[in-house]
Amino acid sequence: MRFWILNSLLFCIGFTFGQAPERKIIIENGTYHYVTINDNNQLATYYRGATTSPIKEGKRYVLPVGRNLTAHFNPLAWDLKDDSIIAVNFMDHVMNDRYEAIKKIGLFDLQEWNSTMVIGELIQACVNQPQYIFNQPYLSLKEKTDIFNHFYFDLALIGDEVWMVMSNKGSFRIWKYADGEWKKSKIYKREWKAHFTLVKEGNKPILLTETGEKIVVSLDGVEIIQQGKNNFELKDYTVVIDRDNGKNYYIKNNFIIPEQSITELLKKSGSTI
């Protein structure tokens, strides 16, 4: 009973914290980085703070990208490279071009949220962001089919390479952008029930599936290196990518408590992936 009450309390606290991080929290040089989305206006907020300070003390910035909310929900695809965020802007907007959706945004160009900001103008800024690289994975999929069903995608950065995995209608394909061009794997069959997340582990892209499987992906093949877990649903967890220690963790979304630091949260509630 005590455990149940504690869990309920933690859930409530976690819930009042607001939106869960989109997929992941990245730790680098003693600083955490994560992104949330407002599901009403689709706008992203980027958070940054010291890993040893309470999360609530972190700073909040407007990140000029967003994502829509569909029945087959796909969180924002984003990653951190040096002082920039690479993200796929799949915001619903009549002027937003999905072929130009991959953006690169300098972290130190971002504005902190303040009460004078006009949402409509911020959304327009998202739409006006120039593309970083062309969204070839989406175009290639689009050229094969008009039907999008269990359409999920994510990206991860490994060195200067951009890796993407994109699924649709019971299959998926791996993409790598390097040296100015996209290369692709063959198409693999697999039924997806929910979104996956792509992370870097060691120096390889790893796909974390909705059931907790770990799949090493490359242009040449895929290899399941860890089976899924009972009663595990990826949507309930945030992936913590600790680049300082070279480890990745899962932490349950409702255990993310703003009064605690990332370091404390990982110690209490993190489980190694």
Binding site: A71, M95, D97, E100, L139, I147, N149
Partner: protein
């Protein structure tokens, strides 16, 4: 028993009845009976507020409340209601009879209920949860606005009934169980209202789709309050989901496609691959620019002044495309100018310069709920609804848009998902 004894007994009984009636008739004023609240139960469907999206609670009817809570059931089910009443009098009985008379024979049977004294001279009684005498016609949508229950009371075991008060709620009856909420599809008040208001009395999928579509064809879509839902009026709206449309009553094209599909899904009509995102098929033109803009009618093409790209000779330029008051495009230079063209929902001249647009696809027909028009094929849309194609680039802080009115220059592509 002798006849005379019987006559005596009947006489005494009559005197007693008259006496009792006389007492209550003197001490009780019917007009003082008021329904305080009523709550529907028995499997009624949850309904979300348009404003904020939270679910309505109970009771459904509260005396004096400005807005009463709507009620919804699935056809074939039976409404069930309970109600609290109060009245004042000097000398109240221990119990009275109460009944409810609803529309179309939806009556709530007489129940004898206890009278409770709340304070000297102030009494209350409770009509317990009771099913209506008949069920909602199975397999048929229904609509009552309002569903009025006239509450009667009787102080002589149902011999005489007097109207005491009435309760009034919007009542929505869906043909089947609504589809489950997912993504932006939620069981909003106006989704029920628009759907059942139009599908009232209809049964088959085809009838319901056609009836609901009628709401859109005159370019006037009204929410549950009979307020207009606007398509880009003014043009600067950024709302792109159903909740945003219903809360703010002005939104982009995504939302009207979602609303139309929602008003079908709420009836339990199932159509997959029903939500279509259209945008120019990927192609590049002069300088490698992506052709990713189109103009919805009407635009006036003047003298082309653009240079360096013969295929797209018309050029407009802008920095702030839609300044306050957000009613007109603000071009620095313009070979192509916006005219009042195809009206949108509650909007004479909505935005018409787009990268993409959303429509519904049902049984092979494209339904554009923003404008209340249908298309037989994707290929028809540009020729019937567009005036031009375009691309744009930015230089020195100025955006340059290049256009052609050659409708054969490119074509539309579609991405179909299930809303």
């Amino acid at each position: 028993m002798k006849l005379t004894d019987n006559i005596k007994k009947i006489g005494l009984s009559l005197i007693a009845t008259i006496a009792v009636s006389y007492v209550y008739a003197q001490d009780f004023s019917y007009s003082s009976v008021s329904a305080e609240q009523a709550t529907f139960t028995g499997g009624n469907l949850p309904i979300r507020r348009d404003e904020g999206g939270t679910f309505y609670g109970t009771p459904h009817w509260i005396s004096g409340a400005e807005n009463q809570v709507p009620v919804a059931y699935v056809s074939g089910s039976t409404a069930r209601v309970n109600a609290h009443f109060k009245f004042t009098c000097e000398n109240a009985p221990d119990s009275i009879m109460v009944r409810g008379i609803g529309p179309d024979g939806f009556d709530f049977e007489p129940r004898t209920v206890a009278v409770e004294e709340e304070a000297p001279g102030e009494y209350s009684f409770y009509y317990p949860s009771t099913y209506a005498s008949t069920e909602f016609t199975a397999g048929e949508s229904d609509f009552y606005k309002p569903f009025t229950i006239g509450w009667d009371v009787s102080f002589n075991d149902g011999e005489d009934w007097r109207n005491a008060d009435s309760t009034r709620n919007s009542m929505y009856v869906t043909r089947d169980n609504p589809q489950s909420e997912a993504g932006h599809f939620k069981w909003y008040h106006s989704v029920y209202d628009i759907s059942c208001r139009n599908a009232d009395g209809w049964s088959t999928d085809e009838e319901i789709i056609a009836a609901v579509w009628d709401e859109y064809t005159d370019q006037v879509v009204l929410n549950y309050k009979d307020d207009s839902l606007h398509y880009y009026s003014p043009k600067n709206t950024y709302f792109t989901n159903l909740g945003g449309l219903l809360e703010n009553r002005n939104a982009q094209c995504y939302t009207f496609a979602q609303l139309f599909l929602a008003t079908i899904k709420i009836q339990g009509v199932v159509r997959t691959n029903n939500y279509v995102y259209i945008t120019p098929v990927y192609s590049t033109t002069c300088g490698g620019y992506s052709v990713n803009r189109f103009l919805v009618k009407d635009w006036d093409f003047g003298t082309p002044t653009g240079s360096g790209c013969e295929a797209y000779p018309y050029e407009n330029s802008y920095t702030s495309l839609l300044p306050y008051p957000y009613t007109d495009y603000n071009f620095i230079t313009a070979d192509v100018t916006d005219q009042t063209g195809i009206p949108g929902q509650c909007s004479d001249n909505p935005s018409s310069y787009f990268n993409n647009h959303q429509i519904a696809l049902i049984d092979g027909v494209y339904y554009d709920a923003c404008y209340g028009v249908t298309f037989e094929s994707l290929e028809d849309i540009p020729y019937e609804a567009f005036d031009g194609w375009g691309f744009r680039y930015t230089s020195g802080g100025v955006t340059y848009a290049r256009f052609t009115n050659d409708m054969d220059a490119t074509e539309l592509s579609q991405s179909i998902t299930t809303f």
